[in-house]
């Protein structure tokens, strides 16, 4: 075959008309604004043709120019640069709905810039948390690699009942972990650029969850295989994904859901049956703690800044009344409770003893949840729909 005919075969296929409507909409959207972007293009082209320079970008009268950020002993953190006047003022309400960076000279160009209609979380109360800047730094410092940092080659073979229980637990964790990637992704693009610290932290959360999904999937497949998915888990995940607001979903995901998973990881020394599993839990625990931490202070920030706090509280309670029950559905599934009991007890023949430990874990998880709510200024103690004691009583 000649080179020419080979190239011929690589030519793109003719348009199929599959995306005609979308492309037409895109064309008309930009044609509608021709007077704005095409004028910019024309102006730039004219200047270039005349051989002129603008150099307007060197003017510093409206810029915070010359106030240099000083690195701390840890390097140059967001806290360090936010201490420089002109850069660290986090607005209560964002009015600049473009990609223009906070602290840049942008006002003179506002009229010519397109508005990002998707940026709808314009109030600081809808996504900010006072610890988000330091959590972002911490997240970067604690990244790890599920391929390299787990001593996979040292994974011991377990008796079949313990291996199946471990693999089922990993199946559960694989199934649920990435909702903490999907949910933030759904809201990330709605958060304006002025809240860049929130956006950055959320991205680390998504990366963490990708790693968790990876590490539990790998653990299951390295030990025997993935076992059973569960409808109860799926309903909990749906409740998180479909939450009506960012704060409500963050409450359900970070404060409640991830909080319960954190309780499990904190019990990892007792659940894990190999040193490899302990290492996995230990590493995931630290990641999860950051997500929980953001969730708690995000809710606190929302409530503290709500124009009508009693109304905001009541609405959150109304949401939590449902959310708690759906999350509870997940945490009562046999596909989770039973393998946990087998691991805590030390074998299928000790499942009853394991249920005693599981009862302690239940109580601990609910009390930890109530403590987080309290810290956020959201007292659920008298209203919590999750029973403080396990349905089977012991413990």
């Amino acid at each position: 075959m000649s080179t020419a005919s080979r190239v011929e075969t690589l030519r793109p296929l003719p348009p199929t008309g599959m995306n005609d409507e979308q492309v037409a909409r895109y064309e008309s959207q930009f044609k509608e604004h021709t007077n704005r972007w095409a004028e910019i293009l024309q102006r730039n082209a004219d200047r270039m043709r005349k051989g002129e320079y603008s150099l307007h970008w060197m003017k510093t009268d409206q810029a915070a120019w010359g106030r240099r950020a000083k690195p701390s002993s840890r390097g140059l953190t967001y806290t360090d640069i936010n201490n420089v006047p002109g850069y660290g003022d986090i607005p209560e309400r964002v009015t600049f709905l473009s990609f223009a960076p906070r602290g840049a000279v942008r006002e003179p160009y506002a009229d010519e810039m397109p508005v990002v209609d998707d940026y709808t979380l314009v109030d600081r109360g809808e996504s900010w948390a006072d610890n988000v800047v330091t959590l972002y730094e911490e997240a970067k410092a604690r990244q790890w690699n599920a391929t390299r940092d787990i001593p996979w080659s040292e994974l011991e073979r377990l008796p079949e009942d313990l291996e199946k229980a471990t693999c089922q637990l990993c199946t559960f964790l694989t199934e649920v972990e990435f909702v903490a990637g999907d949910f933030p992704a759904k809201w990330l693009y709605k958060i304006p650029q002025d809240f860049l610290e929130v956006k950055s932290f959320i991205v680390t959360q998504m990366m963490d969850e990708a790693r968790h999904q990876e590490v539990f999937r790998k653990r299951a497949i390295a030990g025997g295989g993935l076992l059973h998915a569960s409808p109860g888990f799926e309903w909990a995940l749906k409740a998180i994904n479909d939450a009506p607001t960012h704060t409500m979903g963050t409450f359900l995901l970070n404060l409640l859901g991830e909080g319960l998973v954190l309780s499990m990881f904190r019990s990892g020394e007792m659940i894990a049956k190999t040193h490899v599993d302990k290492e996995i839990f230990r590493r995931c625990l630290q990641d999860e703690a950051r997500h929980v931490s953001y969730g708690v202070l995000e809710l606190k920030n929302y409530l503290d800044n709500a124009p009508d706090r009693p109304a905001a509280l009541e609405e959150m309670h109304r949401f939590a009344d449902v959310g708690e029950q759906v999350i509870l559905t997940s945490f009562t599934e046999a596909a989770l409770v039973e393998p946990m009991a087998i691991l805590l007890g030390g074998g299928l023949d000790k499942i009853d003893q394991g249920m005693e430990g599981q009862a302690h874990l239940w109580k601990m998880s609910v009390e930890e949840y109530l403590q987080r709510c309290e810290r956020a200024g959201f007292d659920r103690r008298d209203r919590c729909t999750i029973p403080l004691d396990s349905p089977w009583g012991q413990g």
Binding site: D130, V133, E138, G357, E368
Partner: protein
């Protein structure tokens, strides 16, 4: 000049999120993660703490205390409950 030790400390209910660590001013860097602690908890070196208090409001479980205001208190609330599970596990070992 005599060195003054700080007064802030972290109780046992720390969840190990590390928000406090990066709140501590860089030149001070008095907060560290306790090596070998499975729960990944943090602690404050009192000799290095300058009592700025930046760390405390960032804690999601209110486990950072100022000894001048609260004295030395034990952790309270749900995050102390792990002791019961640990005791149960120890009793079975």
């Amino acid at each position: 000049m005599a060195h003054k030790a700080g007064h802030f400390y972290i109780d046992e209910t720390c969840i190990g999120c590390g928000a406090c660590d990066h709140a501590c001013p860089g030149k001070v860097d008095a907060i560290y993660q306790v090596q070998g602690d499975f729960l990944g908890r943090y602690a404050i070196v009192l000799d290095e703490c300058i009592d700025c208090g930046f760390c405390a409001p960032l804690c999601p479980v209110a486990c950072i205390h100022d000894a001048r205001a609260e004295g030395i208190v034990e952790g309270t609330g749900g995050y102390t409950r792990i002791r019961e599970l640990q005791a149960w596990a120890r009793a079975r070992a």
